[in-house]
């Protein structure tokens, strides 16, 4: 009891998760160092360099995380609407005062430091969503609850789209999974999956063949359920919507997406080859990763990494450094660490007594999942180039801190799982 008293702040914290967190941050620092390392200019340790800054980010990140543990977990529940509101406000502000970096109006300069509100909007949204679900306990069987939950997610998503930062916006789709866990019909996931499949298929297969396939499937389905009028009608509706979707996608693709986004998608689908232009990043990244082979070239030995063949080496394409210098073994270890973290977060979320903690836990896990899947998928060419960071590993303070906050708020909630929120 006395011990518990003395350790009140860190009582019941899941230290295993903290260890994985530190492991991933270390992997990040090592690879940021490697991707910036220049043998000719290798002097002493330099805090002004990127790896020096990253070390500072990691240390402050750990301090930030530990200090979050000092808060009372209940505060997050209470202040969720305010935090959400604040992040929305920042997302609006950034559209006006933000600094344009790489075509995106995503950064608010504060002195020498730059704040990226979209990173912080993630945990604001997660908190409010958790608050909503825990307060009203909707089962998402009615339209109203789905709309409210949808609005909570879509508001920041749309604001981020305006920057425009499609990559960060896409991450908000991760909230589908916590909602699914809380009762949202699985059909939503299937519909979403179906939309992606149809989107891709629309590029690879002529539209009329797709229409033929869809009507055939619909027809067979109706034939099998020919005595159930309801199913027949809904099937016909779904088929018509699906076919309409095909055309809408085609038009939206031409009108809504920017040319560079279109070419990234076309490259990923193999519709066009461009080794020097838009495809350069992906090809060089794959060359770097592929050249790592089984065990990699070794720390600081990656030639592609060292000689700047992969753009955005330390940030979005940091995984190519891991792939080149540590090979398949290193990649497997990193993916393994992530999987361990993700599966553990889900398990932790499930052991929560409070719905708030569980929803938040799911949100955190699924946001990480989206980042990891999209980022690594992009570096090895199975997903179009979408510039989002690899959690804890990519260079950058904003992303590291926001991921840290996301994670440690959950760890704090988890440590309170016996108490009441």
């Amino acid at each position: 009891m006395i011990q518990q008293q003395g350790n009140r702040f860190f009582f019941n914290v899941d230290w295993i998760t903290v260890l994985i967190y530190i492991a991933l941050c270390t992997v990040g620092f090592i690879n940021v160092y490697a991707s910036i390392y220049n043998p000719d200019k290798a002097t002493g340790f330099d805090f002004a360099s990127s790896y020096g800054k990253q070390l500072i980010y990691v240390i402050t990140g750990v301090i930030l995380g530990l200090s979050i543990l000092l808060f009372d977990g209940r505060l997050f529940n209470v202040f969720a609407p305010f935090i959400y509101g604040a992040t929305l406000f920042l997302l609006v502000v950034v559209l006006f005062v933000g600094r344009n970096v790489g075509g995106n109006q995503a950064w608010i300069p504060i002195g020498s430091f730059r704040l990226q509100p979209s990173e912080f909007a993630k945990f604001g949204t997660a908190l409010l969503l958790a608050r909503y679900v825990s307060t009203f306990n909707p089962k998402f069987r009615d339209i109203k609850s789905i709309v409210i939950a949808g609005l909570i997610v879509l508001a920041p998503l749309l604001l981020i789209m305006l920057q425009p930062d499609t990559g960060s916006a896409l991450v908000f789709l991760a909230f589908m999974f916590p909602l699914y866990r809380e009762g949202l019909s699985g059909y939503f996931l299937l519909i979403f999956l179906g939309m992606i499949v149809l989107f891709v298929a629309d590029f690879l297969v002529p539209t009329y063949i797709l229409i033929l396939i869809l009507t055939t499937i619909g027809g067979l389905f109706i034939y099998n359920n020919r005595r159930k009028q309801k199913i027949i009608i809904s099937t016909i509706l779904v088929t018509i919507i699906a076919i309409a979707y095909l055309f809408v996608v085609k038009i939206a693709y031409e009108k809504v997406l920017a040319p560079h986004q279109r070419s990234r998608i076309e490259l990923m689908l193999g519709l066009k080859a461009d080794n020097k232009g838009a495809g350069y990043n992906v090809i060089q990244s794959q060359i770097a990763i592929g050249s790592g082979q089984l065990t990699g070239r070794g720390f600081l030995q990656g030639t592609q990494t060292k000689y700047g063949y992969v753009p955005a080496q330390s940030t979005d394409f940091i995984f190519s450094t891991i792939g080149e210098e540590w090979g398949f073994v290193g990649c497997s270890v990193v993916i393994g660490l992530y999987m361990f973290l993700l599966l553990r977060l889900i398990n932790l979320a499930e052991r929560q007594r409070s719905t708030f903690s569980r929803v938040y836990g799911y949100s955190v896990a699924c946001i990480f999942f989206f980042h990891v899947f999209i980022n690594i998928g992009m570096t090895i060419g199975i997903i179009p180039v979408i510039g989002i960071p690899l959690p804890f590993i990519s260079y950058g303070g904003s992303s590291l801190w926001s991921f840290t906050i996301l994670l440690f708020i959950f760890l704090k909630l988890d440590s309170n799982r016996m108490g009441f929120i």
Partner: protein, 670 residues
């Protein structure tokens, strides 16, 4: 709640599936496919080649006859070129601004980021000018290389030439040659390419994404130092080579001199010759075209590619084989009425000697005597077995090297014509005998040989029964390695005891008042020899002489052919005598008959070109033509040659008509 709890597994299952997809793709690009690895190498790794110096060639007295000379190329990496003073560069190189632009464009087309030739072999003056202002032309650099230099400006066909590799060479070399490398294309440069070229050095350099060199790869672990080519010691004696070329000036023909004891070739003259320095460097194309255009075809290597009937110079071999065969004995005499009747065909003699023995028959070059000898050989087992005895005779003669390549260390050696019995079976069926082929008795008709083969025959006679494979390089590298095949004695199948009588006859040919080459007697040296006068249906006969000296312990065997030179005694023999004397005594004493080197060098025996407006037909020159006795041709025509034979004839003719050095296959890589 329980029902929703199960959704955890769906979410976790999705995570795992996606992780497996990522790992699967990683497994593919990292482990299964090695495309990425090689792409990474080509991204960063550039091999810079260091060219070794080509091996030098010395003559037998260790005088340098082939060496290297530095030249400078201007190289460019188009991507590194920044806007520069085009006029300045054009002036330094003495070319126009247009040329500069054109060359830059060409280099860019070849490779934008590899170092490519901008201007080859810039002059020393241009190089000096450029050195001072090079900093003004980023992306350009000079590269020094060596090219061949031949200080004596002789023996062009012998040395051959070195030229940039073509795609064919690159493919055949299985990765050794790269575009821009040089390779020996003909002559010694070609046959000893593997020794002369040395070993290219490689420096592996890493480049970053902006194409800036980042230093050596793996601390130079995989770099290779260039190793200079092997030095070769040639068997050539440059003194008599030079004398030979001088004597053969304005004449078409060849000289081959061999040291009998070793098979080392002392002189290898092909006339008309050319200065090998012409086929070096920038002017190669221009000079090569003018060589090709020369109607006397200097590009033909006549000592090994010229095929002449040996004529009477064949008689000593004939005699020796007959003696070995027992067809005659040293004392056999025949009666010469001034001709020999082979059936209805009359073989004329230049003289009427009456009863004549072998020694005198050789000295006097009596056709009648050797026709009888031949008749005796072929009919010694009766008229019915002529085919069989001919086959045996063919085998005996072949041992001397007729009708086959001797395997000299030069490319494109020809083997000459010497038909087997089967050949005559095809044409005449069973109805042929010694009279059909009687012209061979005196080295005419359907027998041809290269000057090298003739000189080799002399070496075999000088050695009294064997020869060593004739060769031009007697030592390779610092250790002077001698190829094993060059120390093997090749016996010609005639016992030593039969030689003295023939050699006596050859001595008389030169040193007796009745000899055919009596004008070529060398003061204080006993040269043995045999003249030949090769019938030439197209013009004046060819003058041939083969011989060796001194008679005892011979030091030099020689064959000389002067096309359109008439009697063997009139040009070939005196030329031989000068070369032999020069080689043995290093001087030439005044001759009692007043013959001088100068007089022979000045004589012009080039055949007149019939029609200067028309292109000269190559058939004008007999060295290129496979001779056929006219009478035989008529018989063949009437008998309707089989298509195969016809084809062969056409093919050989075609070859003769296009004697381009490049098109010919490598025949001998030794």
């Amino acid at each position: 709640m329980d029902q929703l709890f199960n959704r955890k597994y769906i979410v976790q299952g999705l995570f795992i599936v996606v992780a497996l997809i990522l790992l699967g793709k990683l497994f593919y690009i990292q482990i299964i496919s090695d495309k990425a690895f090689s792409s990474a190498e080509s991204n960063v790794l550039r091999k810079i080649y260091k060219y070794p110096a080509r091996g030098a060639i010395l003559d037998r007295n260790m005088k340098v006859i082939v060496q290297n000379e530095p030249v400078y190329d201007l190289m460019v990496i188009p991507n590194e070129v920044k806007p520069f003073d085009t006029l300045g560069l054009a002036n330094a190189l003495e070319i126009t601004i247009e040329d500069v632009r054109k060359k830059l464009k060409k280099a860019k087309a070849q490779s934008p980021y590899q170092s490519t030739f901008f201007e080859r072999q810039i002059s020393v003056q241009s190089y000096a000018r450029l050195q001072e202002i090079m900093y003004r032309f980023p992306g350009f650099r000079t590269q020094d290389r060596t090219i061949r230099h031949y200080p004596d400006s002789i023996a062009g066909q012998l040395f051959g030439y070195v030229k940039e590799v073509n795609p064919d060479d690159i493919e055949k070399s299985e990765g050794y040659y790269k575009p821009g490398d040089f390779i020996g294309k003909s002559g010694l440069e070609r046959s000893y390419e593997d020794f002369l070229r040395g070993k290219k050095g490689v420096i592996n350099t890493l480049y970053d994404a902006r194409n800036v060199a980042q230093g050596s790869y793996a601390n130079g672990k995989y770099d290779i130092n260039a190793v200079s080519g092997d030095r070769l010691i040639s068997s050539l004696d440059i003194r008599i080579q030079r004398l030979g070329e001088e004597l053969m000036k304005n004449k078409v023909g060849a000289i081959v001199a061999i040291e009998p004891a070793t098979g080392e070739i002392l002189a290898f003259v092909s006339s008309p010759g050319y200065d090998p320095n012409q086929l070096v460097g920038k002017d190669w194309g221009k000079n090569y075209m003018s060589l090709i255009a020369n109607p006397y075809r200097p590009q033909i290597v006549r000592p090994i590619a010229g095929q002449y009937s040996p004529g009477s110079s064949f008689k000593p071999v004939d005699a020796l084989v007959a003696l070995q065969d027992g067809a005659i004995d040293p004392n056999t005499t025949f009666f010469c009425p001034g001709y020999y009747m082979a059936g209805n065909h009359k073989v004329k003699c230049e003289h009427v000697d009456g009863t004549i023995n072998m020694q005198r028959g050789i000295a006097r070059s009596c056709n009648t005597y050797f026709c009888h000898v031949f008749q005796n050989i072929i009919t010694k087992n009766g008229m019915k077995n002529q085919r069989q005895t001919y086959a045996h005779w063919h085998e005996q003669i072949s041992k001397w090297g007729f009708g086959q390549k001797l395997g000299i260390d030069m490319p494109f050696e020809k083997k000459g014509i010497f038909y087997q019995a089967d050949h005559y079976d095809k044409i005449y069926g069973k109805r042929w005998g010694y009279t059909t082929v009687i012209s061979q008795a005196i080295g005419q008709g359907e027998i041809t040989s290269t000057p090298l083969q003739m000189a080799n025959v002399m070496a075999a006679i000088a050695n009294r029964g064997y020869y060593l494979k004739p060769h031009l390089i007697k030592g390779i590298g610092d250790k002077n390695v001698v190829k094993k095949e060059y120390v093997v004695k090749n016996y010609v199948g005639v016992d030593e005891k039969y030689f003295p009588i023939v050699i006596d006859g050859m001595r008389d040919a030169v040193n007796s008042p009745w000899g055919t080459a009596k004008e070529s007697q060398i003061p204080n040296i006993l040269m043995c020899g045999k003249t030949g006068t090769v019938q030439n249906p197209h013009g004046k006969n060819h003058s041939v002489f083969i011989g060796f000296a001194p008679m005892n312990k011979p030091k030099i065997a020689i064959a000389v052919i002067v096309e359109n030179g008439g009697y063997g005694g009139s040009y070939a023999a005196p030329i031989s005598s000068f070369i032999v004397e020069k080689y043995l005594t290093d001087s030439i004493k005044p001759r009692s008959n007043g013959y001088t080197v100068k007089a022979f060098a000045e004589t012009n025996l080039l055949p007149a070109l019939i029609d200067k407006t028309k292109k000269v037909k190559p058939t004008k020159l007999d060295s290129l033509k496979l001779k056929k006795a006219d009478s035989l041709k008529k018989v063949k025509d009437s008998l309707k040659i089989k298509p195969a034979v016809l084809k062969q004839t056409v093919a050989t003719k075609l070859k003769v008509n296009q004697p381009s050095i490049n098109n010919k296959p490598v025949t001998n890589k030794q």
